[in-house]
């Protein structure tokens, strides 16, 4: 990550901070639950000072539940980047806000895609993944005293935020994770939206492999292993017959070729599952790019008609 991105984030935080200070002040005044003096102090004090994180935060969180204000963090896909979560967590801690995290997958919108059991299955899978990932994030937030909730939706950003704003009151502003384009944040959203576009953390918050998924993987591996074993048994227990026909040549050539294809599908899938089960999986999707300076196409000299005078 370059320093320019770090600067970007700092600038973003500064803008968000300024705006938040205004909002905080207004809300506090309107509620009249805290005394005026305290409200003014809070409004005038820079919320992003490190000192406040320790003492100011918990005090803010002792307010009754109905005044709890929320930051909505929106991410596309089942996981949030560490960058957006770190930022939201530090904001929530300093301002005494709750965090409402929403994972979106607009691709599974039933209004767009025809209703199907497959779509349902994909939705269930996505929701499960998102929940598992959230389970790894949540403890860190709660340990800081930040209350948080998690929602999964299958709509586009604007509709989902709008709907959520109706369902759950007191969402003050939205932070969108990397991966959500500016065009998606349309005027329909009745809330101010901040986007994290710069530093996104070193890595996505890793989703732990779901326990159910592991069991399923184990089941599949065993099934494929048995299948492969059965195929091997079938060939080697009848090896005389097999050898008689497989070495006849001519059109019988199809037999060994077809056999190795079948074996490679079953045994290959078994081998692949076995390595996954043993925890040996590819670490990064590698797309190597060897950069070469391309020669610029030469402009051909064109014939030109010229009249010498």
């Amino acid at each position: 990550m370059g320093s320019s991105e770090a600067n970007k984030t700092t600038a973003l935080r500064a803008v968000a901070g300024r705006w938040l200070r205004k909002v905080t002040a207004m809300m506090t005044l309107r509620k009249k639950q805290a005394d005026k003096q305290a409200a003014e102090t809070k409004a005038s004090r820079p919320s992003f000072s490190g000192a406040e994180a320790g003492d100011g935060g918990p005090a803010g969180r002792d307010r009754p539940p109905e005044v709890k204000r929320k930051i909505l963090v929106v991410g596309k896909g089942p996981v949030f980047t560490t960058g957006v979560m770190d930022y939201a967590a530090s904001l929530a801690e300093r301002l005494g806000y709750d965090i409402l995290a929403m994972n979106l997958n607009p691709a599974l919108d039933q209004a767009v895609k025809f209703f199907s059991p497959y779509n349902q299955r994909l939705r269930a899978k996505f929701a499960q993944q998102a929940r598992r990932a959230w389970e790894t994030t949540e403890p860190a937030l709660t340990s800081q005293g930040i209350r948080c909730e998690h929602v999964v939706k299958f709509e586009d950003v604007a509709r989902a935020v709008k709907a959520l704003n109706h369902e759950i009151k007191r969402i003050d502003f939205v932070i969108t994770d990397a991966g959500i384009a500016d065009e998606e944040i349309t005027g329909e959203i009745p809330l101010p939206v901040f986007s994290i576009t710069g530093y996104q953390g070193d890595q996505k918050v890793m989703a732990r492999e779901p326990e159910a998924g592991r069991k399923k993987l184990m089941g599949r591996t065993i099934a494929l292993g048995l299948g492969a074993a059965a195929l091997y048994a079938a060939v080697f227990l009848n090896s005389d017959l097999v050898m008689k026909y497989f070495t006849k040549g001519g059109i019988y050539a199809a037999l060994p070729v077809a056999t190795v294809f079948i074996f490679s599908f079953v045994h290959g899938a078994f081998a692949s599952n076995l390595w996954s089960l043993l925890g040996i999986e590819a670490t990064k999707k590698v797309q190597p790019q060897v950069s070469v300076s391309r020669p610029t196409p030469r402009k051909r000299p064109r014939l030109q008609l010229r009249i010498d005078t």
Binding site: S239, M243, A253, W275, I280, E281, A282, T283, P288
Partner: protein, 358 residues
Amino acid sequence: MHDMAAQTVNFIDLNILSISFLFVVGFIGGLVSGFIGSGGAFVLTPGMMSLGVPGTVAVASNMCHKFPKAMVGAYKRFKYGQVDIKLGLVMAVSAGGGVWMGINIQEWILAKWGQAGSNLYVSLSFVVILVVVGGYVFYDAWKTAKSGGEEKVCALAKWLQSINLPPMMHFKTANVRISMWFTIPIGFATGMLAATIAVGGFIGVPGMIYVLGVSGLVASASELVIAFVMGFGGTIKWAMHGMVDIRLTLIILAGSLLGVQLGAIGTTYVKEHMIKVVMGTIMIIVAVSRGLAVPQYLKELGFISLSSSTESFLSAASFIIMCIALAIGAIIILGSMWKAKRAETAKKAEMVLEKTYV
């Protein structure tokens, strides 16, 4: 063609020892070819022959295991975005021509100088090509490792890419734009070497890297496509003669499908130049092994005299060194995978510590 099988082939009986040998060599061969795109065949064919399998059956059964293995490996590496299918297919077409040419040369030598002459030709091609190409690959890998692991396109490839000789082809994954005419000799040489020493990748992969300017990762992955096409064609040819011993093929396949996937996964762990390190190392050791076999053929041709004990010693040493080549390749791959995995785990643990928001 039906009678050919009846005449020449006596298929061996299998025992636990031969089955385990084939399985283990299959696994290690698969591991290496999943990683560098080819390999394994140079041990499997002589290995099977030492078990008493006739030469043609050994070649046919080996080829029959090669193409499904290459298919599984190519699929796996395609998922990692490393395979340039177009490059593989273009190369495979010209490799077909190379195979045809290679077989013709072999037959011509066989007719002129007999079996010993043919063996000598094969061994000499092994030694010359592997020493020259393998030496360069190794040198380049060493240079890359020294300069911090950054792969660079060599000057020859840059120059060839700048020549605009239609039809120009653009290989997307490899990110290379080059004239079709430069891919043909590489493919052709790959095919010729495959027909001669059964491991075309020893020229195909370095050819793609140093002549076409493809990265080591994409070159070794695309080599699997070439291996699949050539192996598939070769298998059909051999199977039509009834030469494939499906039992041998399936035993090797049992090991190699496990190995090839592990090798493919391995490419995502290690630094790119490791592919070159493994390839160069194996090529040089195999060259030594084949070099030891040369005196035997020279004796058979009557050029030198050799005592029978020396001869048997040399041939045993040659085979053992060949096995060592494969084993060293596997050890380098597994070792570097293990190291990379450990580093990654350490990094993850560090990140978890950082993530406690203290």
